[in-house]
C-alpha cells in the first residue's frame, strides 16, 4: 500500500504518461518532495517555495486541502490525492 496520486494531463509527460502514481505517506509537502525524487520537475510545477501554486488544487479523498490543514495535511497509505488545475465555470 501507498498513497495513490492522480496526475492531471499537463503533468503526465513527467510521469511517462501515467495517470496514477504512488507516493510516500507524510505531509502534502513531504509527498510532493517524494514524487519529485521519482519524477524530477513535478515539484516545481505544483509548488513554489513550499506552498502549493495558486492555480493548483489538491484534494485528499475528494476534500480540498484548504479545508483540511493545507500543505500540512497528513496523508496515509491508501489515501487518494488528486492534483487538479483550477477550472472555471458559473458566472
Amino acid at each position: 500500500m501507498a498513497v495513490i496520486v492522480r496526475i492531471p494531463t499537463p503533468l503526465q509527460r513527467l510521469t511517462q504518461g501515467k495517470e496514477e502514481i504512488e507516493g510516500r505517506p507524510g505531509s502534502i509537502m513531504d509527498l510532493i518532495n517524494d514524487l519529485d525524487g521519482k519524477y524530477p520537475g513535478i515539484g516545481e510545477r505544483i509548488s513554489e517555495g513550499g506552498k502549493i501554486r495558486r492555480f493548483v488544487n489538491v484534494y485528499v479523498n475528494e476534500e480540498d486541502i484548504r479545508f483540511l490543514k493545507a500543505e500540512e495535511t497528513e496523508v496515509k497509505d491508501g489515501d487518494v490525492v488528486s492534483i487538479i488545475p483550477a477550472i472555471a465555470g458559473g458566472i
Binding site: 475528494e62 480540498d64 477550472i87 472555471a88 465555470g89 458559473g90
Partner: protein
C-alpha cells in the same frame, strides 16, 4: 479570418498555439486568448459593427473563431433598459439594466459563451460537447448543442432546482446528476476531461468559451452610444464574467471605439458564498474557498477559479464588492419585477441587492451612470420565491363574487 495571435499564460506569460488546452504546462496558470489589436483596429469600425445583424457575432473580430460562426446566430444583443422607475426608488440619476434574461435561446448569458465554445469545438473537430453546470450552462449546451448536432454530456449537482433539470432534459442530452455540490462536479469533470476526448466547454475549451462573455460588455458600450458607464455591477461566481467585461471595455478602447475608460467595476456575491467579496473587503488577493450555502445556486462556487483576477479588476478600476443575504436577494428580485417588469433569477437578485447596498453606502455615486448586469431569467428559479409572493384572489365565476373581491382590493390593493 482570425485575429487571434495565440494563447498565453496569465501567470508566467508563456505562449501556446491555438489548441483545446486550458492551463499552462509549467505553472498551471490559466491560458487566455491574445489578439492582434493593431490589425483589428484597421478593420473593425463602428460603421462595420452597425452594418451587421444584431447578435453577439457583430463583434466577431474580438472573438476567437477562424471561420463563419455556426452556433448562436440569434444569441446576444439583449436590451440595455433605462431603468427610471428603479432609479427613482434607489435615488440615483442614471441607471441601466443590461438584460440577459432574454438571450436566445435559453434565457441566460450562458448562450453567449456557448455560442463561441461550440463554434470553436466544431473548428477543432469534436463530435461531443460536455460541461459542468449549475443550470444555466446546462441549458445552453443542451439546446445549442442539439441545434448544432453535437452529442452532449451534461454534469449537474443532483440538488439543482427541479425546473432547471427539466429545462435541460427537454433537449435530450445525456444528463448526469452528481451527488455533491458544484465544486465536486467540477473536480469530477476535470478528471473525466483528462480521460475522454470531448469538448468540455468550461474546461479544455475554456479560453475560447470565456471570451464569449465579453460581448455582454461590448453591447453595453454600443448601447450607451459608444461610451463606457461610470459604474458596472457584476455578479461573481468564478469571477470570469467580471474579468471578461473589464477586458471587453479595455479592448474597445484599444481599438479606438472608446475614447475614454474610467469605469469602476463592482462585484456582487451572496453572503452564503462570497469568497471573492471577502477578499475585496479585506483588501487581499488571497481567495479562501468556502462551502456554499445560498439560494443563488448559479453563483454557488466556493472555489472560484478567476477569483484572484476578479480582485485585480476591482483594484485596478477603483471598484469594490458587496455581499447580500438570501432575504435581500428575494427582496431585490421583487423590486426589479415591480419597478421595471423584469423577472431575474436569484443571481440577478444578488446583483441588484448588492448595487443597492453600494449606493446606500456611497461606494456608488448617485449622480453617475450605473449599469447593473442581470444574467439570467427568473422563470428558471421560481422555487426561490415560493412563500415570498402575494396570493391570487379566489372568486366564484360570477360578477357579484368579483365585485365583492374588488371591494377588498380597493381598500388595500395595488
Amino acid at each position: 479570418m482570425s485575429f487571434v495571435r495565440g494563447l498565453k499564460c496569465r501567470e508566467c506569460g508563456r505562449e501556446y498555439p491555438v489548441e483545446p488546452i486550458y492551463v499552462c504546462e509549467f505553472c498551471f496558470g490559466p491560458l487566455e486568448v491574445v489578439y492582434d489589436y493593431d490589425s483589428i483596429k484597421k478593420v473593425m469600425t463602428i460603421d462595420k459593427i452597425l452594418s451587421r445583424p444584431k447578435s453577439l457575432w457583430r463583434y466577431r473580430e474580438l472573438l476567437p473563431v477562424d471561420g463563419e460562426p455556426v452556433v448562436g446566430l440569434n444569441s446576444g444583443f439583449t436590451p440595455l433598459v433605462k431603468a427610471d422607475n428603479l432609479a427613482g426608488v434607489l435615488g440615483v440619476k442614471q441607471l441601466y439594466i443590461k438584460d440577459d434574461t432574454v438571450v436566445h435561446p435559453t434565457l441566460s448569458f450562458k448562450d453567449r459563451v456557448v455560442s463561441v465554445a461550440l463554434t470553436k469545438a466544431r473548428e477543432f473537430g469534436f463530435d461531443t460537447v460536455a460541461c459542468a453546470s449549475t443550470g444555466n450552462l446546462a441549458h445552453a449546451v443542451s439546446a445549442q448543442g442539439a441545434n448544432a448536432g453535437f452529442k452532449r454530456f451534461i454534469f449537474i449537482p443532483a440538488t439543482l432546482e427541479y425546473s432547471k433539470i427539466v429545462a435541460s432534459l427537454v433537449y435530450e442530452p445525456n444528463l448526469i446528476a452528481v451527488d455533491g455540490n458544484y465544486d465536486d462536479v467540477n473536480r469530477l469533470c476535470s478528471e473525466i476531461a483528462n480521460k475522454y476526448k470531448w469538448a468540455f466547454v468550461n474546461i479544455n475549451i475554456r479560453p475560447f468559451y470565456a471570451e464569449g462573455s465579453k460581448t455582454h460588455g461590448h453591447e453595453i458600450i454600443e448601447q450607451l452610444g459608444w461610451r463606457a458607464p461610470d459604474n458596472v455591477v457584476v455578479p461573481c461566481a468564478s469571477g470570469s464574467l467580471m474579468t471578461k467585461i473589464w477586458k471587453s471595455f479595455k479592448e474597445m478602447k484599444e481599438i479606438g471605439v472608446l475614447k475614454e475608460l474610467n469605469t469602476r467595476v463592482f462585484a456582487a456575491q451572496a453572503t452564503g458564498c462570497s469568497p471573492i467579496v471577502a477578499a475585496i473587503k479585506s483588501n487581499s488577493d488571497i481567495i479562501r474557498p468556502v462551502k456554499p450555502d445560498t439560494i443563488a445556486k448559479s453563483l454557488a462556487i466556493g472555489n472560484p477559479a478567476d477569483g484572484y483576477y476578479a480582485t485585480k479588476v476591482v483594484k485596478e478600476s477603483g471598484g469594490y464588492g458587496e455581499d447580500v443575504s438570501d432575504e435581500e436577494i428575494i427582496d431585490a428580485i421583487k423590486l426589479l419585477a415591480k419597478t421595471e417588469g423584469i423577472f431575474a433569477e436569484t443571481a440577478g437578485g444578488v446583483t441588484l441587492a448588492a448595487a443597492k447596498k453600494l449606493i446606500e453606502t456611497g461606494r456608488i455615486d448617485r449622480d453617475k451612470t450605473t449599469v447593473i448586469c442581470i444574467t439570467g431569467n427568473g422563470l428558471k428559479t421560481q422555487e426561490a420565491l415560493v412563500g415570498h409572493t402575494g396570493q391570487p384572489y379566489h372568486i366564484r365565476p360570477n360578477l357579484a363574487s368579483f365585485e365583492e373581491c374588488l371591494k377588498g382590493i380597493k381598500k388595500g390593493g395595488q
